[in-house]
């Protein structure tokens, strides 16, 4: 088990959180579940996470949470990434919590249910792949007599197979609104997409879905602000999860190199392999520095989060991909964990903005502003 990075955790409360995550994960190996291809969310594990207080950790205490921020959640997600935990913590606990925490009074009952692990909620906010705009445009809800009608489409909806209810952003009377939508309603159509790591995302269409007024949880600019906050927090936690994946991928590859003997010696003695390992370590260190910067206590800007997401995505994909090569033929076998890490890296790297997208965002305007030499 890999401990969360000491450099990242200089707060005793967070250190305790890291310790409990370590103990929790040590008792629950994920690789068997991943190979069996079962559902991403295991009800027993989800209940145990609720018991730890993790599911609602970013909700204010008034909503049944611990009042922590996304930076604190990084302690958990880094450990989850390193342990390959498939349960959709970011999608179904952290992001809906951050959204509802920013809209007090809007969905307190739902928030309490998330924290208790009793309500399985995902957020449908994104309207096009690689488009991170927090403002809804295509999903529109209109009044029709005594009820509302929702139409439009959402994509990249995470944990689609596990969620029992959705929080959906839509345009209402020219402003943003947050709706609670039951997937079983007439007019709701879901197309599930099987991702490389075995998890599923959804594209959701709403064809004149009839809702009553109580479905509107909040409306106005605050919804857009809350959505933006949720996206940023999700990206930060996902960057930490990818960093955990990268760190563990490098760790297991290095240990494999030390034990695997060919041509009469451990392959870790071969210079070409050693140099590859060093390059992976450098990518990991760059990601660590960017993540640490984005986790600053006084609140990092979106550019810092983009830099962290980009660097961690690249490090996770590169480290696990090279890890397959460093494992030789064993790396291509399902028996070795490195392949599981690679698939988790690919999926995480593609969600909430790719490295390419974040590289562009993280320097927007800055490159051009530099004075001439």
């Amino acid at each position: 088990m890999l401990l969360p990075d000491d450099q990242m955790v200089d707060d005793s409360e967070l250190r305790l959180l890291g310790d409990s995550a370590e103990a929790f994960l040590a008792a629950r190996a994920s690789s068997g579940r991943l190979r069996a291809g079962g559902p991403a969310l295991d009800p027993d594990i989800w209940a145990a996470m609720a018991e730890q207080g993790w599911l609602g950790m970013c909700l204010p205490e008034a909503q049944g949470g611990l009042g922590m921020d996304a930076s604190a959640a990084c302690v958990l997600t880094e450990a989850f990434g390193a342990a390959l935990l498939p349960d959709p913590f970011i999608a179904m606990a952290l992001m809906p919590s951050l959204l509802l925490a920013a809209l007090p009074g809007a969905g307190d009952e739902i928030a309490a249910g998330i924290a208790a692990g009793e309500r399985l909620v995902t957020v449908a906010w994104q309207e096009a792949a690689e488009n991170l705009a927090p403002l809804p445009r295509d999903a529109v809800v209109e009044r029709n007599g005594d009820h509302l009608v929702l139409r439009g489409r959402k994509v990249c909806v995470p944990a689609i197979a596990s969620a029992g209810e959705w929080l959906v952003t839509a345009v209402l009377d020219g402003a943003s609104a947050l709706l609670r939508v039951d997937p079983a309603l007439r007019g709701v159509e879901v197309e599930q997409v099987l991702l490389v790591d075995g998890t599923r995302m959804g594209a959701v269409s709403f064809a004149q879905v009839r809702l009553d007024e109580t479905a509107v949880l909040a409306r106005g600019d605050e919804v857009e602000r809350a959505t933006a906050r949720m996206i940023a927090g999700g990206q930060l936690a996902l960057a930490a999860q990818l960093y955990g994946i990268a760190k563990a991928s490098l760790h297991i590859s290095l240990r494999y190199m030390e034990t695997r003997v060919q041509f009469g010696s451990a392959i870790a003695r071969f210079q070409s392999l050693r140099h590859r390992a060093v390059d992976l370590k450098i990518g990991l260190e760059l990601a660590r520095a960017a993540l640490r910067d984005a986790r600053r206590p006084h609140g990092a800007g979106d550019q810092a989060i983009s830099a962290a997401k980009a660097s961690a995505s690249e490090a996770a994909v590169a480290t696990s991909r090279a890890g397959i090569q460093l494992h030789g033929a064993m790396g291509f076998s399902d028996e070795a964990d490195i392949g599981l890490y690679h698939k988790a890296a690919l999926t995480g790297a593609a969600w909430l903005g790719s490295a390419r997208l974040h590289r562009t965002t993280s320097t927007q305007g800055r490159g051009r502003d530099r004075e001439s030499a």
Binding site: L254, A266, A268, R288, T363, S372, A373
Partner: protein, 391 residues
């Protein structure tokens, strides 16, 4: 002490005790006042008379030897202030300089020199009476330095030195050379090497400049033919010179990893792309953002390492990693700049663009050896891999 020295000494005491922000402001103000146009060419490095004039000016004004303790005539700055000192030079784009007497020999003298060596040599470094070059590399001992073959054989009170050194930076400007020479043979090749201080004018020494591909003659080679060196010129213990050479002032390790030159290459790329009308090309713009983003993250890592270093953490392979990050990013940026801009060079005749292109071409050429000197990238990777792998 004459009057001027008294004034500068009192200023030195004052500066090391300033608050960091005040220190930064004072240094910035001094640089802005004293850097003329020749001192604002960061792609270049000072050499010859202008170099010595600049070092003397720093000395007179109390800005010389930031890392040396005050008792030896330095500024006595904390690591944090030394970083500020360098940040301001980089921020303003001051022409770079190298003085191995200050950065390498001085600290080794302080640690390993006799009282007499310290008393005579250190002040002469500060006022540039002596200008030192470093004689380590040999034709067959580059990255594998321990295989060096220049010998020093004891003869009464003297050593007789024979052999050859190469890649000696500023050999033409130097008055003295500090060398690693073989004085004994042991099973461990690192043993039996001694550290010898030699006056460059000693009979039997000949020097030859080597022009590099950028057109500069900064380095050269030195031939030793029965050169008689007094044994009092030995630094430290006989046969233990390797240990001395390894004990660099730790702070110097931080300077090797600064992403400053990568930043400079990116600024030039930006500026020339505007002038050549390609800045808005989408493929170019995407590459630029990629480089800018990589540079930002490299800066974060550098700041993180420097912060940990200042707070006393022991860092070793981390700075080797930083060297790889910064030098390789510098190279890739400069390579891309030359690839994409060179086709436009002859189409732009105005004076500022012409000068910028010449600076870019120079910067590109000096980006070649950064992955060679100070331990090649391949040797650095060997060193780092030892901290990763148990075999």
């Amino acid at each position: 002490m004459n009057r001027l020295e008294e004034i500068s000494a009192s200023v030195v005491v004052h500066r090391s005790e300033l608050a960091d922000a005040e220190f930064r402001a004072a240094w910035r103000a001094w640089l802005e006042e004293h850097c003329d146009v020749q001192m604002l060419r960061p792609a270049r490095r000072l050499a010859g008379a202008p170099l010595k004039a600049w070092l003397r000016k720093l000395n007179v004004h109390g800005w010389r030897a930031p890392g040396w303790p005050r008792e030896h005539g330095g500024m006595g700055l904390s690591f944090a202030k030394q970083l500020i000192y360098r940040e301001e030079l980089e921020r303003l784009g001051v022409t770079r300089w190298l003085d191995l007497g200050e950065t390498l020999l001085g600290p080794m003298l302080m640690r390993h020199g006799t009282q007499e060596q310290k008393a005579t040599l250190l002040p002469r470094i500060l006022d540039c009476s002596d200008f030192w070059c470093q004689g380590y590399s040999e034709p067959n001992a580059g990255s594998d330095l321990a295989s060096l073959r220049t010998t020093a054989v004891r003869d009464g009170d003297d050593f007789i030195v024979n052999g050859q050194k190469i890649w000696t930076t500023f050999v033409q400007d130097a008055t003295h050379i500090f060398t690693l020479v073989r004085t004994g043979r042991y099973e461990r090749r690192q043993q039996g090497i001694s550290f010898l201080l030699i006056d460059i004018e000693t009979p039997g020494i000949t020097r030859r400049g080597i022009r590099n591909i950028a057109g500069d003659s900064e380095f050269g080679e030195v031939f030793f033919d029965d050169v008689r060196v007094p044994s009092s010129q030995l630094l430290g213990t006989l046969d233990e010179g390797w240990t001395i050479a390894k004990s660099l002032l730790e702070f110097e390790r931080t300077s090797i990893g600064s992403p400053f030159l990568a930043d400079l290459a990116l600024k030039m790329l930006n500026s020339l792309a505007e002038r050549c009308g390609i800045a808005d090309d989408p493929v170019f713009a995407a590459r630029m953002k990629g480089f800018a983003s990589e540079l930002d993250v490299a800066r974060l890592l550098y700041a993180d390492l420097c912060g940990r270093f200042v707070s006393g953490e022991k860092l070793d392979s981390e700075f080797s990693m930083m060297k790889l990050v910064s030098t390789e990013l510098f190279q890739r940026t400069a390579e891309y700049a030359v690839e994409v801009l060179t086709p436009y060079q002859a189409g732009h005749h105005d004076q500022p663009t012409r000068v910028l292109f010449e600076e870019l071409n120079h910067l590109y050429l000096i980006s070649r050896p950064v992955t060679i000197f100070g331990g090649t990238s391949e040797v650095q990777r060997d060193i780092i891999s030892r901290s990763l792998l148990a075999v």
